[in-house]
Every structure is written in C-alpha cells, then in structure tokens.
Amino acid sequence: MPMTAAIELRDVEKRYGALRALEGVSLEIAEGEFFGLLGPNGAGKTTLISIVAGLVRANAGTVRVMGADVVREYRRARRMLGVVPQELVFDPFFTVRETLRIQSGYFGLRANDAWIDEVMHHLDLDAKADANMRALSGGMKRRVLVAQALVHRPPVIVLDEPTAGVDVELRQGLWQFVRRLNREGHTIVLTTHYLEEAELHCNRIAMLKAGRIVALDSTRNLLETFSGLQLRVRLAREGLPARFPADVLAQDGPLYTLRLRDTRALEDVLLSLREAGIDIVELELQPPDLEEVFLRLMARHG
C-alpha cells in the first residue's frame, strides 16, 4: 500500500487577474519530512501555503493534506494542519491563555489545558500566560502564533517565515522545538529567506520562481549538483595556464576563486598549476553553500 503523502499538490494554478501566481505546481511531501520552500519575494511561496491551508482557493488543480482534499474535505484537511502565518497577527481583546483556549475551541477541543500548558512551557510562555496579547513583544507574539498552530496537535505543521524579525535567542529556541516536533513524527514545511536555516534543518527543498518549481531535491543533492566546491587560491603571479581544468568565479589580481565539481577536480587543478610552474601562496577550500545554489538557479531561470 502506498504511503499517504503529508501534502500533495497536483497541477495547482492560481491567477490574480493577469498575474499568474502559480503555474501548474505539482509536489509531494512525505510524512515526517522537514521540507523547505524557497524562492525570492513574489515567487508564490505564500500563495502555495495559503492554498494548502484553505485561505486561498486555487483556480485549477487539487491539494490534499494527509489524503484529505482541502476543498471537498476541508474539515478533515484543516484538522491535520497547523499553520504559523507570516504576519504577526493577534486579537487584542484576549490574554495568551484565552487566545489558546479559544483556538482549541475552534478545533472542537474542550479541556485542552494540559496540552496548552505544555506548549506554553516549551515556548517559554508560562510567565506570559495571563498577559494581554497587546502587551507582548514581537518575539513573544510569534511564539503565541506557533502555540496557536499546535493546539490541536496537527501531524503537519507549516511555518511561513517563522524567524522573520525574531532575535537570535528566540530563533534558536524555536528551532530546537520545531526539530523536536519533527523527531516526534510531525511533518514540517518551512518557508524562509534565511538560506542557512533551510540548509541546516531541511532534508528536502523546493525552489520556486515566478510560480514554478525550478528545483526539487534533497538538500544534499542540490548542494552537490549545483554548488560543488569553491577553491580560493593566491598564486605567486597573475595568470592561469591555458586549458585550465576549473571555472573561474572571481579574480582579484593573483587571488582566484574557482569552482570544482568535486574533490578529484582539486588534483587536476594542482597538477595543471605545477606543470605550468606557477607557485601557490595560499589555498582555501570552501564547502558547498545553499545560497550559491539558490543564486545560480534563480539566474538560470531568469
């Protein structure tokens, strides 16, 4: 029996007037994945997430959450999903605890206080339980948004730019908690502008550009395929041998930044330099980097 995907999109299209926000996006996210959705502003990340959450209706295509169609079986789909929205929204009439009780009630849950206390504890909100939402700092409001998304213990959690405008300390606490949820079996879907966060946490990544998926692979494969290694060498003099076995990314006098496909290419470069009688003054090898992959992919599909 095939496993149910946590999230499954098939040929999803969304237009806003003449603007085509999503152009036939198909994507499957398996249960238990820590999945990253990357792309520049306006690529369609938030539109995609909003369609999954039922906040926006697609013009074509189908979306399922844990097998439940987000339109035809919207209640089942929404029970499976916890969404942390990007905007710092809150209801100024209520305290933190009231907010979380109300959110539990919206999911049909009564007497949810034990779980509410646990979630507040993990997010370091205990001290603020009876504070009005208006009185909280931006970072604290963000934690409440995370708590609100978790009141019904959803198997699939979507975080839309969860660390935007959040201080370093909270960011680390938040990631620790989210990773724990992932270890406990929750599927995590993340959009972020911070590529190092995606590189650090996500096991698989989709890159979106102008409403299309331009790359979809495991984080490791993306790094190996598109980034390779970077080698910075300072030579004794300017000028490379003819038929040099590596691409030059940048040059500043005798300082060269080279791209290598893999570690074996390093030997070829060294050999070529030795044969040409060029001495190496300084040498530094840099590991692959998601930002590099991102920039290359975005440029290629431009």
């Binding site: 906040l55 209706r57 009630g105 919206y106």
Partner: protein, 265 residues
C-alpha cells in the same frame, strides 16, 4: 468552487466550535461594555429626554398614549437593531483589518457554525442593550406591557436579521469607512424612517405607502404592539414578513460564506 460540507464531525465538536465562537464574540463586546452597551443606552436616554420635552405636550400618537410612552418602545427597538448590526459588522471588519480572522479561517469551522455564532452574539448584544434602554427609560415613563411575548419575538427576529446583515456588511467592506457608509446611508435612514419617532398614520399617504417597503417599519410596529396592544399592521403579518426576510438574508449570507467572497482569496 464552493466548499462542500461532506466531512461531518461529531456533534460535540461542532457544539464546542459554535460555543467558542459565541463566547469569544460575547467577551469581545463585554470587555468594552461602556462603549458597546453603555453608550447606546445613554444615546437612547438623550433621545427620550429631548424629544419628549420638545413634543410631549403637543403630539398624541395612539389615543390615550402619551408621546414619551409611545417613544420608549421605538428607542428600545432602535437600540436592539443598531447594536445587533454593529456587533457582527464591527467584529468581522476588525478581524479582517487586523488580520486575526485567519484564526477562524484555519480551523475546521463550518459556514453554518460561523453564521449562527455571529448571529446569536449579535442577538444577545441587541437584547442586552434593549433591556438596558428599557430599564433606564422606565425611570422616566410609565410603561404598559399588553403582549410581552410579541415584543420579545420581534426583538429576537429583528436582531437576528440585523446581525446577519451586519455579517454581510462586514464581509463586503474592506475599510472602516465603507462600513460606516453602509451604516449611515442604509441602516440609519431605514431605522429613523421606520416609525421610531412617529406613527406612520401621521404621514401623508405617499410616505405611508413607501414606509411599507421598509422592513424596519414592521419590526418597530410589531415590537410596539407588545407594549400597547395596538399597531398599524397586524403583528402576525409583520412577524411573517420579518421571518421571510430573515430566511432570505440568512440563505444569501451562507452562500456568501461558502463562496469565500472577500474572506478566502
């Protein structure tokens, strides 16, 4: 494509969602009761003092009914209707503008649960304000209650209708001034021209005929019947007109909610 309701949930869950929405809406206005209950009671009291002072001696509406006594049920019903409308409409637009409506759009709340919760909260706010106006004005005016159950039925159905209209207005409006326009150019004229301050028998025939197209006229007239046992239109006919209006508005509102109009992009 409209969402279909094919995944039923346990009745207890549905009741919890509905109850949570209602209590959230009640807490919302109760936390600022001076503004949402106190202010309209004061306004009604000022109307009573000024109008009964200005016209009290000169105007008789029904035989044997002094003007101030005639005015009170009209003011009570005006408070009921305007506040029922204000409750749902201002709640929705505030949630839309601050963005916290997302908290209600993400959970598995059905359209019927959403609709009835907002309508019930509006009815309660309307009735609380109406009871307040009645209690305060009773200090100044000797009141009679010929058929209180009729009065209650009109207050209930009238506030439900205005609560549903408030829901439509709140969903439609994208800015506070659009909502204010709805309130100032539709709800206010219709309430003022519905016979709160006069009996339509005192109007020229043309305006009398026109008043009969105003649904608010039937609400005020029927509500007043509960006090004096006298009305311009038979109360059963007024109540039937009101019931049909409510069913039509409710069906339209539920359709609007299901379509996602201005709530789900």
């Amino acid at each position: 494509m409209a969402e279909r309701d094919d995944t039923r949930s346990a009745p207890g869950e549905s009741l919890t969602r509905f109850g949570t929405l209602v209590s959230k809406e009640l807490l919302r206005f109760w936390k600022v009761a001076h503004q949402t209950v106190g202010a309209p009671i004061l306004t009604a009291l000022l109307f009573l003092l000024v109008f009964s002072h200005a016209f009290g001696e000169r105007v008789t509406v029904f035989r044997d009914v002094p003007y101030a006594a005639f005015l009170v049920p009209g003011l009570v019903m005006m408070g009921v209707l305007q506040n029922a409308f204000a409750n749902s409409s201002s709640s929705i637009i505030q949630s839309k503008i601050t963005g916290n409506i997302v908290f209600m759009l993400l959970p598995p709340i059905s359209y019927a649960e959403f609709f009835w919760a907002y309508v019930l909260a509006s009815v309660i706010r309307g009735l609380v304000v109406g009871a307040g106006v009645l209690a305060v004005t009773a200090w100044f005016v000797q009141l009679q209650f010929e058929a209180p159950l009729w009065a209650f039925a009109f207050a209930l159905l009238g506030s439900a209708l205005l609560g549903a209209l408030g829901l439509v207005a709140g969903i439609w409006a994208e800015k506070f001034d659009q909502l204010a326009a709805f309130q100032n150019f539709l709800i206010m004229p219709l309430t003022f021209l519905s016979g709160v301050f006069y009996s339509i028998h005192s109007l020229p025939p043309f305006w009398q005929a026109l008043s009969r197209f105003n649904p608010f006229f039937y609400m005020i007239d029927g509500f007043r019947y509960g006090f004096f046992g006298v009305s311009d239109v038979a109360p059963a006919a007024s109540l039937a007109i009101l019931a049909v209006s409510f069913v039509l508005v409710a069906m339209a509102t539920l359709r609007l909610l299901r379509s996602g109009y201005r709530l789900r992009g």
